[in-house]
Symmetry: none
Subunit: 123 residues, 2 copies
DNA sequence: CTCCTTGTGTCAACCGATTGATACAAGGTC
DNA sequence: GACCTTGTATCAATCGGTTGACACAAGGAG
C-alpha cells in the first residue's frame, strides 16, 4: 500500500516536481524502505489525474538522483543503498514551514497547535 | 537595505512564486517590518535578471494577500496591519497541509505537535 | 507646474510543462 | 512459447510563465 499522494492545484510548482518532492520525503524518511515498489505509472497517473508522461518524468528524475531504480515490466523500486541528505529532518522541515506561516498570520503557538489538532484526521 | 533575495535556477517553481514566498517569509519573520519599503520593480528586476512584469506579478500577489500596498510613484511597502479576516481560515489551511505531510511521513498527532513546538521560534 | 520615479497595462514572441494518444521494449508469469 | 504488465519514446496541441519593449498613470520633489 502506497501512502496517499496528493497535488495542490493552487501551487504553481509543476506537478512532476510536487510529486518528486513527496517521494523524496517518503524515501528519505524511510516510509518507503529500500526495495519498496512505487505504484505503476498508469495507476498513479490515473489516481492523480495526470498524464503518464508526467509521472514518468517524476520517476525519471528520482532515478537520476539515485533514489529509485526503474525496469520495464518490473516496476520502479526504492534503491537498496540509502543516500540520506535529509532523512530525519523531513518532519522538522515541514513543522518549521508551518510554524513560519502560522506566525505570519499572527497566531501564537497554542493557536497553531489547536489548529493542527483540529485538522488532524480522525483515527 | 533589502535582504539578499535569490532565485534557484534549478527549482522548477516559477520565479514570481519563489520571490513571493521569500517576501512572505521576510515579512512574516519581521525582517521587513510594517511600513518598510520593497525595492522598486525595475531595480529588483535588474538585480535578479528578471523582466519587470515578473516582479510586478509577485508584488501584485503580495498585495492581493494584504501583505503589501503598492502606489504609483510611491513604491511598495509592507502593510501596517496584519491581515486579520483571513487569519482563521488561512491558519487552518496551513495546519491541514502540515498534518497531511506529517501523516505522509508516518508521524502520529503527538509527534507532529512535538515537532511543531520544537520548531516554534523562541520569544 | 515640471521632472523624475514608480507601478500598471499591453503586446508579440518564445519556451517549458502538460495532455492524450500511440507505439515500442523489456521483465514476469503462465 | 504466448501473454500481460510496466517503463520508455514520440507526436501534435494547448496552456501558463517569461521576456523585452513600449506606453500610460499617479505620487514625490524641486
Amino acid at each position: 500500500m502506497t501512502p496517499a499522494l496528493r497535488l495542490d492545484a493552487d501551487d504553481p510548482t509543476p506537478p512532476y516536481e510536487q510529486l518528486r518532492r513527496q517521494f523524496v520525503d517518503l524515501i528519505g524518511s524511510g516510509v518507503l524502505p529500500p526495495g519498496e515498489r512505487l505504484p505503476p505509472l498508469r495507476q498513479l497517473a490515473g489516481d492523480l489525474g495526470l498524464a503518464v508522461g508526467t509521472v514518468a518524468r517524476t520517476y525519471r528524475e528520482l532515478e537520476a538522483a539515485g533514489l529509485v531504480r526503474s525496469r520495464r515490466g518490473g516496476g520502479t523500486r526504492v534503491t537498496r543503498d540509502v543516500p540520506p541528505p535529509e532523512a530525519g529532518p523531513a518532519l522538522d522541515r515541514h513543522a518549521t514551514a508551518y510554524a513560519r506561516q502560522a506566525r505570519l498570520l499572527g497566531a501564537d503557538l497554542e493557536a497553531a497547535v489547536t489548529a493542527l489538532r483540529r485538522s488532524w484526521p480522525a483515527g
